[in-house]
């Protein structure tokens, strides 16, 4: 700012463009242009043969790939709607459980008397930094028919399920248990090509493994985020609460949580964004099987394109996922902009959010908030 003289300004302009040129070229060539190309492909019926751009085997179909996902009876709509339903249940379980677990761990780890803080912090965060594919492989082994989980359940005298081939929905199982038969007459109405009964399946047993995997890998990141917010709280509040003689539980519920509300909102929106990005785990753990009960919209857009060679429809699905995630991201950024978030928390979160949005594995800028509470 101090140097706003024309000569320097001119030289700086050249240098500025030179310094940013690699970024502009890479992002332009591998992000902006491809997105426009995909937008065009989403309005064609390209099947992978020839060129999608003006090739003789490809025709322009307008918005048909988008509208048919919602209106045209058929396998594609059914699978797409099932993937939406799966994601709904996935969100319903993952977001509350990961938020609550992360908050609980953060509050306990933040205790002043605690020794070995950094050990626990590291232990909880470690799954978040490792490869999603590697961890999914480990979970395949843990939950295999003769794996550790069923071995452990066997010790307790419980016969574990065949986790990855069990497509029964939890809610169906619960309804069956209270005497509701399969496909009752009140649940046969069709919504987007699926019966109400199908919509009410709940997550399948196989999906439950992916839900557990997601919670297990993400809580560490969110715990660090909560820790940053907790360390930001003025000590006086804590002190006042203790002088007033409230119980620890009351203190958490009436003092701590309301004061870190912005962080809670952020964890929830980051969690929501993350749940729409699930891909690696689905690829490794069955590619949507059994019976499409672990299919997610993101994975379906991939398999529709690269396995069924219906690139137009796959690109249309990808754009729907894209819009949903962008919408959630802007919601999250508005929350961050609000002044209620302290500067430090916001800074810690910015890096983390940036990293989180890039990858399937909620990565987090390890240092930004990982940098130690003691």
């Amino acid at each position: 700012m101090a140097s706003r003289k024309t000569g320097i300004y001119g030289r700086q302009a050249v240098a500025g463009w030179l310094f940013t040129a690699p970024m502009i070229i890479i992002l332009g060539l591998f992000l902006f242009i491809p997105i426009l190309m995909a937008l065009y492909v989403s309005m064609t019926d390209w099947n992978g043969n020839g060129s999608p751009f003006g090739g003789s085997q490809t025709s322009f179909v307008g918005a048909e790939n988008f509208t048919s996902l919602f209106t045209e009876d058929g396998l594609t709509r059914q699978t797409f709607m099932q993937s939406i339903g799966n994601t709904f249940y996935y969100v319903l379980f993952v977001v509350p459980l990961q938020t609550a677990t992360a908050l609980m761990l953060a509050i306990v780890v933040n205790n002043k008397f605690l020794r070995g803080k950094s050990f626990f912090r590291t232990a909880f965060y470690f799954p978040a930094v490792t490869s999603g594919v590697a961890i999914a492989t480990v979970f395949l082994f843990l939950f295999s028919n003769t794996g550790a989980v069923n071995g452990f359940l066997g010790v307790l005298g419980v016969d574990g399920p065949q986790w990855f081939s069990d497509s029964r929905g939890l809610l169906h199982l619960a309804l069956n248990a209270v005497g509701v038969g399969d496909n009752p007459s009140w649940a046969q109405g069709q919504i987007f090509g699926r019966s109400l009964w199908e919509w009410l399946s709940g997550p399948s047993v196989a999906m439950c493994v992916i839900i557990m995997l997601a919670i297990w890998t993400t809580t560490g990141t969110f715990m660090l985020l909560f820790l940053a917010a907790l360390q930001d709280l003025p000590v006086e509040v804590d002190e006042a609460a203790e002088l007033d003689g409230v119980s620890p539980w009351q203190k958490i519920r009436l003092v701590t949580i309301p004061m870190i509300k912005p962080a809670v909102f952020l964890v929830v929106t980051l969690g929501l964004i993350g749940t729409w990005q699930v891909f690696d785990q689905i690829y490794v753990m069955g590619k949507g099987a059994p019976a499409n009960t672990t299919m997610t919209p993101a994975f379906l857009s991939y398999s529709q394109s690269f396995r069924s060679f219906d690139y137009g429809s796959g690109a249309a699905m990808a754009f729907i996922v894209f819009l949903i995630i962008i919408g959630l991201t802007f919601m999250q950024r508005r929350l961050m902009d609000e002044d209620r978030v302290s500067r430090r928390t916001r800074r810690a979160i910015a890096g983390r959010a940036a990293a989180a949005q890039r990858g399937s594995n909620l990565v987090g800028a390890a240092p930004s908030a990982g940098g130690d509470p003691r």
Binding site: A15, S144, A148, Q231, A298, R347, A355, A366, G371
Partner: protein, 307 residues
């Protein structure tokens, strides 16, 4: 990106060390609470670490043993899986060393390029005055919101149009710059006082010289952060490599492991082999994580004491 910055407010929050001591007797009174807290943390530590133990143990078992006793230590220790991985004793059935080579190559190139190019762009966006800077930065922020899973088809399209499908170029070029890294560096450079460059400028140093010899040496914390993020991001990258390559010779540890796990490479469960390959995939990032964890704790500690 900010581990140096928060010292002021962090110490404010942490200062009451004497108070903590003052409350010690009270804490001792509620030792039940302490025990409950430790019990909970230990339970979760087991939940979070035991799977890694099982993974390591399983890689030293043979197939039947991995199935019959998945929980405990290997007995007897069986090295078949590791021999297969490193191709010792009778030909590797799985070319894991090729995958490892690809992972190392891609990760090193991408990390080096990102650290340099992200810093370069971040510095320009933070310091230089030129028309369009605001627009560029807004674009970087927008790009950060673009989800990777929505880019699979776009990446496949551009790579085929450029004629580089199924090459190292396709694997590496699109990853050379990342918007999040540019953002992190820009934020960091914003925190360095402008006056530092003034002296160098008066001495007649050009923009690149100032960036290279004055600013970068001051930016170690942010550079370390960016190195870790880039290394981890490219080492763990999966979906990008999945759509821009096809031939087995371009598999990285992660894509190779995925093909091994999802049963594209031969029969049987081969869990020991898969656990070994998964372990090999995990180790470099784990080493980096543990090494720099200490570094960060130390850095933050120094800041705290000073305040």
């Amino acid at each position: 990106m900010t581990q140096r910055l928060p010292t002021a407010d962090r110490t404010a929050g942490r200062r009451p060390a004497p108070r903590t001591k003052g409350r010690d007797p009270e804490d001792r009174g509620v030792s039940g609470k302490k025990i409950a807290a430790y019990a909970l943390l230990l339970l979760f530590a087991v939940l979070y670490l035991y799977p890694f133990f099982i993974q390591i143990a399983a890689s030293f078992k043979d197939d039947p043993q991995a199935a019959s006793s998945p929980l405990g230590l290997p007995n007897p220790v069986d090295l078949t899986a590791w021999k297969k991985i490193f191709g010792v004793g009778g030909g590797a059935s799985v070319p894991i060393t090729t995958w490892l080579g690809n992972s190392v190559l891609v990760t090193l190139v991408v990390t080096a390029a990102r650290v340099f190019l992200d810093s370069l762009a971040g510095y320009a966006l933070s310091r230089m005055h030129f028309r369009g800077r605001g627009f560029l930065f807004a674009t970087v922020l927008a790009v950060m919101a673009v989800p990777g899973v929505a880019l699979l088809i776009p990446k496949f399209l551009i790579v085929t149009q450029l004629g580089i499908f199924d090459t190292y170029s396709a694997m590496i070029l699109p990853l050379l710059v990342d918007a999040a890294g540019v953002f992190i560096m820009k934020q960091f450079f914003d925190s360095i006082p402008v006056s530092i460059e003034e002296a160098a400028r008066i001495d007649g140093a050009g923009p690149f010289r100032i960036f290279w010899s004055v600013i970068l040496p001051m930016s170690k914390p942010a550079l370390i952060t960016l190195t870790i993020l880039s290394f981890q991001g490219s080492w763990n990258e999966f979906s990008h490599f999945l759509v821009v390559t096809q031939s087995p010779e371009y598999r990285t540890l992660v894509t190779g492991l995925a093909s091994l796990t999802s049963g594209e490479l031969g029969s049987g469960t081969q869990f020991p082999l898969k656990m070994g390959a998964a372990l090999l995939t995990t180790i470099p990032v784990a080493l980096l994580f543990f090494a720099f964890q200490r570094h960060f704790v130390r850095g933050a500690g120094e800041g705290g004491v000073k305040g």
